[in-house]
Symmetry: C4
């Protein structure tokens, strides 16, 4: 029997399917909220140095803002993917767990980035974390499509692939730029905002 | 096509809509619970100093109480807003994410307030955080109404605007008061309790 | 109009009612999980002292176990109460928030108890926290019943009152005992396990 | 009356049943996400030592990966168990709470393992934690089956028992191996991956 035949149908196992989605949402919601723990100031700062110490947190705040947007964006993508899933099996659950395992690492990578934003290793850790999420997300999506568990059509899948390739390209570029000046890497990430709207990605996806 | 036409209708996409609301609720619930991390005493205090050390936490407890009430109140408002949303699009989801991003900062601001309640920068950080939430909430509400995604009528919208203006006015006043004595700022915030019941706000909203 | 008339009926506002219950459940689940943060060992302990250091955590583990059982028990009671709520208004939501605000403090009180279990102030802080929860729970229940928002009958209400009085009596007794020997207080709390099963409470409730 | 007669039927109390499952899912989701707090680097590391310090976290990352997989796996098992529960009573709720109380300890044990992976006491703490979960899970399952609260048949129950015995055997073996070399223990755990697929377990379960 194929996986599509042995997989549990969503409409027949609505409660179980909802539990998987709700669990994923819970993990996303907690991971995004734990980001705030990356911003903190020590106890017992003298009054005249408090303003300065708070100002020093601007890098942590920037890392927080980037990571909040990033996890939020991944949540929307995850959301969209699961709205098209029509059946699930143990393998999809396992891949989803692997995916969530990389999402939960973001508060750590984000804290490293907030503390050491100008250093090469921090840029690499953060980039590897995000590229890992994109790659596993792509794997999960490709695997589910191949097994007939989703209604994603060929064109949407190709667009998703192009988008993932674009994101990974930006992160690799940022690492290369960081070799020369790590402080510039976050500016390279701004290219990501082009994604979704731009015709670049659409044109890329048509060529694939 | 207008946004109201392209937006997904709530009744046709109940599952997706619920996921957005449940995600927001999750973030609110975690942020409100993380407030407790702002209260802590060091390890290894000698027995005869423990009572004193616990007493020293009264400012952190006050900040906790204020912030719990504040997040709780924002949750009720968010709750009320989404109960009137009839359709949603990517823009509403993005604004909601931005809103949640400011909610999640409250445990940090609250911790700063609990540690340094008598200092000007702490008052400013906390005030800016809360004003940010109010402003983005107002923006989200205004944007959704303009795009025809909610059933909020003109009068309710005007009342909401008056209430937001009142809250922001109180926080600006508190910052001005804090220029002279930062310790007085939380007492200015007590004016917020007037809001909701008082005829002041209702009268203001009629004049707008 | 009375509160029962103006309150929103549960069956007509199922989604909103569910959101309140789900939010409460979320707060309970997070508070109970944060208890684990009260157990921790420092970094960099030499290998030959690790076992001893882990053993030193047995008080923190005991506080964890007590608090997990306590929050779990309050969750079951909260659960039972809300299963009998038929209508809700702003006042019930506010009282529920106040209740949750005291539940969320338990991880802090529990950490204090775990660190300083043998000291009087730790016993007082923990006892005050739990008595506060019981009192506000009783207030919420009494208020909802008086306003006609629940189907709790007179006898169940009386039993609830007797149980609350019993719990508060045990905590007051524990504080008195702690005046002589703080280390004995947790053993007084063991009396709480009598509650629920014993005929003592039932006999008490019949007399009230 | 027997427990099966007094227990509340799932189909008649769907809302309450869902609350129990949702609460459990919430606790799982938070516990699995708190694992990330076990990975952290200190503030203020000089730039040239950052890469080294991040590399030093590889043991914490390994503990994170193992524990994420472990909690995820327990969640799937819990998920499967509750999908077959047809009625619930106070005892099942209490056992589920006890079960969750041991799940929530994993972030602590995992942190100990991440810091002191090569030390005997860390291996023991982690193993005891996981064996506790398996034992209580088995107890809960056995108790529910005996009371007629689930539709689990004799064969599935026997398979579950064999699987639990296998897991506990592996952990006991790992402790014995750790007596000679604690660093080898995690490799013994790799035997767990055999479970589920292998014919060993199936053959064992047929013999029981």
């Amino acid at each position: 029997m194929t996986r599509a035949e042995t997989a549990r149908k969503r409409e027949e196992h609505e409660v179980e399917f909802s539990r998987i989605v709700a669990f994923s949402d819970g993990v996303f919601a907690i991971a995004i909220t734990l980001l705030v723990l990356g911003i903190s100031i020590p106890k017992g700062i003298p009054a005249d140095k408090l303003a300065h110490e708070l100002w020093e947190e601007h890098e942590a705040l920037l890392a927080y803002a980037i990571s909040f947007a990033v996890i939020g964006r991944f949540w929307v993508v995850h959301h969209g993917f699961f709205s098209q899933v029509t059946a699930f099996d143990g393998r999809l659950i396992a891949l989803n767990m692997l995916y969530l395992g990389w999402i939960v690492l973001v508060p750590f990578s984000s804290q490293v980035l907030g503390e050491y934003g100008g250093e090469m290793p921090a840029v690499v850790v953060y980039s590897v974390n995000l590229m890992g999420i994109v790659l596993i997300g792509q794997w999960m999506s490709w695997d589910a499509r191949r097994a007939g568990l989703t209604t994603i059509d060929a064109e949407t899948a190709r667009e998703g692939l192009a988008r993932s390739a674009f994101i990974i390209g930006v992160f690799l570029l940022a690492i290369v730029v960081a070799l020369f000046d790590p402080g510039l890497a976050p500016f390279v990430w701004l290219l990501l905002f082009v994604e979704g709207r731009s015709h670049v990605v659409q044109r890329l996806s048509r060529r694939v």
